[in-house]
Symmetry: C5
Subunit: 328 residues, 5 copies
């Protein structure tokens, strides 16, 4: 789908402009053009992008999914790639994939190209149609609004992850179950993916807020700086969550290791208690003692008392020996 929106001060906003008009409007310094390619096949988008005079390498990058945030300065326009983390949370299991938004930003136009539905784009589109204030500050300000919405949408995700980490932390000491392990590794992967998006995006925003680009009004840089600050904070929170989840994993492993020790201790204690006395019962169950007269003393009443004493006394002695070794 190709959508277009053209604003000239003092005139109503035009939409659904025909493809032929684009090259003219994009050179109309008085108006502001927003062109949005959404899920459009590359072969349809390419001729339009070429007619705008964008560099072939930039068009190539835009039409392919390249998944790496960057900003290229082509003088009269910027080519910017943003990545978007598209996630779903189903009963505590997160599924995520990385989408891409390509932007060509000029003095009086912004061209957005994306395959997936992006709420940030939709909201800005509707807002622009309803109220010219959203577009009259220029394409750079419009871009700021879109990217700000994109970035702020990670905040609830961070909160959800934070809550889940808290919940896992509580479980780990009380009932370390193997499902917890699956959740921990799921969160680790999600945070890794997120970090992969945040770091280069932060770099892009840093450039937009510091470098001197012809198409960005210097007094608008403060807004990109604001998004940069949010990205710094998101990255810090992400790093912090990664540290926390790493700590939770260590805790989990230590706690299960500990339980294992406890269990082995019990196994050893039980075996150590019963093996010797079971041997004694076996000894006196041998057929030597049964019919034969010459062994009669071994199965007398006195012998039985001694055996009973050993069977009771041995475990007691072993108990104190184990206490001495601080097993109990």
């Amino acid at each position: 789908m190709i959508r277009s929106l053209f604003f000239t001060p003092g005139k109503p906003i035009r939409t659904n402009i025909s493809t032929e008009e684009f090259p003219r409007l994009i050179r109309d310094r008085k108006g502001i053009l927003w062109l949005d390619f959404f899920g459009e096949a590359p072969e349809n988008a390419e001729p339009i992008l070429k007619s705008f005079g964008f560099h072939p390498l930039a068009i190539d990058d835009a039409l392919q999914e390249t998944h790496a945030s960057k900003v290229d300065d082509w003088g009269d326009h910027l080519y910017i790639v943003f990545n978007i983390l598209n996630y779903k949370n189903e009963n505590g299991t997160f599924e995520s994939e990385i989408d891409e938004l390509d932007v060509f930003l000029g003095k009086n136009f912004v061209v957005t190209y994306h395959d997936q539905l992006l709420p940030a784009i939709e909201d800005a589109w509707v807002a622009c149609q309803r109220d010219i204030r959203h577009i009259q500050d220029g394409p750079d300000h419009l871009l700021y609004r879109i990217v700000d919405a994109l970035v702020m949408s990670y905040m609830p995700l961070i909160d959800q992850i934070d809550a889940q980490v808290d919940q896992i932390e509580d479980q780990v000491f009380d009932h370390p179950r193997s499902e917890v392990l699956e959740q921990i590794f799921g969160l680790k992967r999600l945070l890794l993916t997120m970090r992969r998006i945040l770091l280069p995006q932060r770099e892009v925003l840093n450039k937009l807020s510091r470098d001197d680009y012809r198409v960005i009004d210097p007094k608008d840089r403060i807004f990109f700086r604001d998004i940069y600050d949010h990205l710094v904070r998101l990255h810090d929170l992400n790093e912090n969550l990664r540290d926390l989840i790493g700590g939770v994993l260590d805790t989990y492993l230590s706690v299960t290791n500990n339980r294992m020790n406890e269990i082995m201790k019990v196994l050893t204690i039980i075996t150590t208690f019963f093996m010797p006395i079971t041997f004694i019962t076996g000894f006196f169950g041998m057929n030597f003692f049964e019919p034969v007269a010459h062994l009669i003393g071994w199965t007398s009443q006195q012998a039985f008392t001694v055996i009973l004493a050993i069977m009771v006394g041995l475990p007691i002695l072993m108990y104190f020996w184990m206490r001495g070794r601080t097993w109990l």
Copy 2:
């Protein structure tokens, strides 16, 4: 609660100034105004902050809890965010949360905004009312006093953690109990949180002590430098404690692993001693040997002596075999 305090040289300190007067006083270059918002709802604070001409982005940041220390230079005033670690120590278990203090610092005013009770603010407030020396050196010096108190309050916490690490270290070699594990991971989390506060705060103080801000008297920079030195030291101590606690965790795991080995050795020794001889008792307990004449030799007096010899000799042989493998 909105508190205010206005000092003009040669006049008594005014407090409880009405909201309407603020915009005038904040522009009065001769006096020094301290305005403190404590737990005040954002909707009450916003119009006042706006009437001072602060930048909307800075006001937004102040009214939201953003938890990331930074300093923004808006020319005629600085916007600074400080984080405060709020901790409770209950029987060796630390609970902590991160609070925030927002500061607008001008040539002749300081505006503080915070949700929680901060002893550093309270002490400075009382001191200013009692003695004009605390405020007459200007808002930057007043800020120095508040931040210095904030930062110094971490020192006792570091000492408490240090003492607890020492105590855990002693326990680990003598009685490695699983509660120790819980304490270790608790301290790790606390130190991680602390580090998260110290690092950006250090950066902020570094900027305050080095950069050339219009609202900070160059000769006062040495004081911010002093706080910066303290933060460097706190961060070093924190890193050191993190290293120590990491070492304690390694020790704990190694020691319990070692004990596990000891226990398994005992289990194996016991099993290896008794399994073969128990088998022998079982062998001679079989009904073959009982009534049947054709096996009578197997249960004779001589056979019994041989069996006894094996039952005594086998464990002795095994004992020496195990010594040869350096198990004992």
Copy 3:
């Protein structure tokens, strides 16, 4: 094999030039010479390279396999080393080795030297013969085409590894088998080798796209910059895969550790259930109880009922005790 290809504007492309002509053609500023040594013995190549006036240190480096990407600026020509990862995927097991491509790049010539068959070279060779567009933009552009093809050939490998990591991830939680371990360590080694190639190559391309070399047309730098961007992305993907595979290994170890715990628990439970009651059976199997009148009460009907009750009750009691310790 020594192949040569000489292009002069307006004339047909010459191939199979005799060795004697090289020194003259290489100085012919109007033409473009491409000389390709493929699997040629060093002793044959050396005199030719020397006749071109290349620095002896550079020729030494080219004739030996040195396996380290670098670019040396000798003023009128560049000496560049590229590494190529040569891999085979046999049923999920990757075998890889590092090949080398040495390039001497001048204003009007490019000399390539390699031991293995390189598809990127072959394709460029065929393309140049078919269509002069591939060579008329100068040797630097020709080099760009070759290196671009080299670098892009890693993309399918990355995709294969990615797919295999996904597949291993699924297996790990369901059936952690020891073959998985072999695959994990195989991929780790492959990614390590790949990283060793990508990092210095990236540095070389960075230099080619930024530094001011006499033999590279400044307006062609953007193409090397494009390859550099691809290498950055490949390196990011590699790092990401290394993180993922590291996570998979951690998962594998944690999951098998967990299973081990489960198994040990079962062993302990079985042993703890049966050891005590087996002892009781042994006790009443002793010959004390058989013929002798003075112990007749021990084997009465009542005693039997008590023993049966103990044999049934003890495991039940232990079951509840174990539940209390959250083993079950």
Copy 4:
């Protein structure tokens, strides 16, 4: 204790100067004054230091133990903090604490402040009294002598640790005992403490040898550079020892893990050998076989031979099965 030492060229060295004279002598540009506070109470030292005109923040730092090496340039004097590792080696167990030496260095004076007895200070003090050559080169040279002695005193400690690491390494493969673990973690802690001292000290010496301080003669910088080189080397040795001790710990854990495996293998082999044949003995020990005619075939001579064959053959079969699984 407050000690003083005053040198004027051509005159005998004066000691035990009265407190009142200090402010005059410290301003006497012709002489060189060394004032040493050793274990002196802060309340006694403070007025003297103040009378010299040192900055209150520097005096505060000197009177408190702050444990962080640094150098502050106050123009006409430097304030320098050195840390000293105070260690005792008792039968291979090291005990260590961090002491502090504060120095005020001027054009013609050096003031040292420390709580503990420092051999480096004592030696320099005695040497100065005996021979004016040690003081006539100026306070900066005197400081060099003291710090050089301080730093060189770590060398024997490094050697001791080195020897102990060697000794532990030998033990680990032969007799991995749990006392070794205690020694390893003790050394790790000691090296960590040492590192904490060396790193900031190195930074301080780097500054002294590079920066342009008014009170340090440029031609004396080479001496501080020499100490800096020693600190670089000490730090390298420390890092290397930390790597080695880390490797020893890994070795220890791997070796004990290995032994554990061996032991478990033996346990499993013994159990696997004897459990089945013990079951068979139990089977034929059941009372079914004893008096009852209908089972008489089960306890015949032939049956006994078969049973004996199984009891001998089963372990032999298992032995080969285990070899097939490469357990033996």
Copy 5:
């Protein structure tokens, strides 16, 4: 041993020059002097070095073994320390120690000082005597030849280690034996020692190839640059081998851990199979069942059939239960 070699253009090379002549020859700008101290006692070397006017700090460093590569610029001469890894390979076990070569390099002299026999020095000595081409290019070129030989001698060591790592890798999956562990840790230590030498050496060569030293001819810098490139490559190979050996250790630990799991599984399976049925045999071996009429039904033919069925059926049931838990 003190050896000397003096070259003046057009004259034969002089050797065995008397000690008294050195100070004169070292100032003879037309000749080139090489003085080699090999295993000479410091007390003999010191006066000679002093007579050359070298700085006392440099002489001190040369006479002591300091083991840290560095270059000190003393204007008319450089003082350079090189480290040499002296290794022996005995049946796959490497023994290594670090030797030292001290060099004083002037415009027309080079003084080498070393304790051990260094093949690189011997080869250069012999070559110089045989052919003046090796010395006529000046002392800096002579130094290049020596250091190049030193550095290239590590290449075969790297190859040996590489081969051994390959061999260990193969063993690890097939027969993880504890000797492998010893070899792994031996290689780790060797590579660590090597790295400790390579890193500072690389820094020294970097300085020699970049910095502007009075005693090094700018056009000779390219040669030191060549050695620097080799050191970079050696360091890369070393890092790579360290990564590989680290991976091999991880593999070893994972594989043995896996085998442990397998073994424990077998132990558990055996125990779980035989414990219950052995209990049953014990039960019916009790004396209750023997003579007493009131229990006669328990030992009937029917009972026996039921018991046999249980003894066969229970292991079969357990087998399927274990399969359900994916143990088998």
